[in-house]
Symmetry: C2
Subunit: 233 residues, 2 copies
Amino acid sequence: MKTLVIISHPTIKDSYTQSFLHDAQADFNDVTWHPLDILYPDFKINIKHEQQLLMHYDRIIFQFPLFWYSAPALLKKWEDDVLVRKFANAAHGGYLRHKQLGMVITLGVPAKNYQPGAGEHFSLSELLTPYQALAKKAGMQYLSPFIISQFFYKTPPQEAKTLVDYQNYLTNPKPFGLKNKIKWSLDQLKQYAPKDKVKKIVFDSVIKQIQKNQNQLDDLKSQINMIKRKDDQ
Amino acid sequence: MKTLVIISHPTIKDSYTQSFLHDAQADFNDVTWHPLDILYPDFKINIKHEQQLLMHYDRIIFQFPLFWYSAPALLKKWEDDVLVRKFANAAHGGYLRHKQLGMVITLGVPAKNYQPGAGEHFSLSELLTPYQALAKKAGMQYLSPFIISQFFYKTPPQEAKTLVDYQNYLTNPKPFGLKNKIKWSLDQLKQYAPKDKVKKIVFDSVIKQIQKNQNQLDDLKSQINMIKRKDDQ
């Protein structure tokens, strides 16, 4: 499975979060980092090139900080220019059908602020409806967004968890659900030898997750056994 | 009350709808037509100028065709550049507090397509949530959007109704509700003498609307009288 990460961030070069995410995906051959602000600082998109590029990927990711409750303008320009009707609309035999659309959203405020009664008043599901509608129109599978809030305040263990979850979101063919995550984690393990720093973080986190999951599985199994024993009595 | 109409439409010069709307507002001294694509074709916004401009208006209108379920990229660029935190956030003492935000949205498909089970699957209320959230954050009053769908297919009477309703949306301090519309219509009447073509259309439509409203009022009055008579018996 090949993944294209389309990043829109006007000050991407100064962003600690984006630099961290960049490093997190750098070792994956099947992931392509595609920073629009570096490629098209003048807002003049190479439409044919972008359309050709999209054809080669199974999972398209829109990655951006939330600006006025949606993507920065450059990603919108990319949408308006590249996703023309004949290319993108499923009803017109579009080229994006059966691909996946993922969203990696970075927030400056806590994610819990995005709900009625809290600071931002609206949920992220409500605010991101236009992207869900885009996926629907293009015949794409919309993936639940991956939200990174207040990355700056994260502790090293929280950073490590974000790194692994982000890699899972980008590269796991089935990124959701405990069983799928375990399978992906074990696949990662097989490839990794804990030499450099980033890999060491991943290694430790994956081991921890597997252990945690294993505990949960064991717990569930023993509960099922108890129920079975009761039924047998 | 002063109104600023901020238009975002990449081919505004070729748009019959935008040309029609332009003519519809041309006679109103308190309405300013502000076409971003003509002012900023290179996406380089004069931020200070735009901020200064906004200060002079009570009602700000975002007017655009729906592109991928939101405004074309240039309006997003305008939002990202002009509405910086210190200028726009109500919590930071923003300059837009107590102003109104209106939306004039043109659609290429019928408005009824925007609902679950129909062609576009999502409602316009859902899709436009980011603008509602923007208004909330800026301390602005969000006006129910004014939707113009498939303008090209409208008959002359439908065009005339759109023209009057659009003028009402732009210039009526209280644009919603029968009573407010009648008051506004009468105000228009006082100013108009049916000389040129556009004014003639307005004149006839307003007269028709007042007559229709008057009929409804009379109908309601007679119903109330009937109820009263029953109570007296």
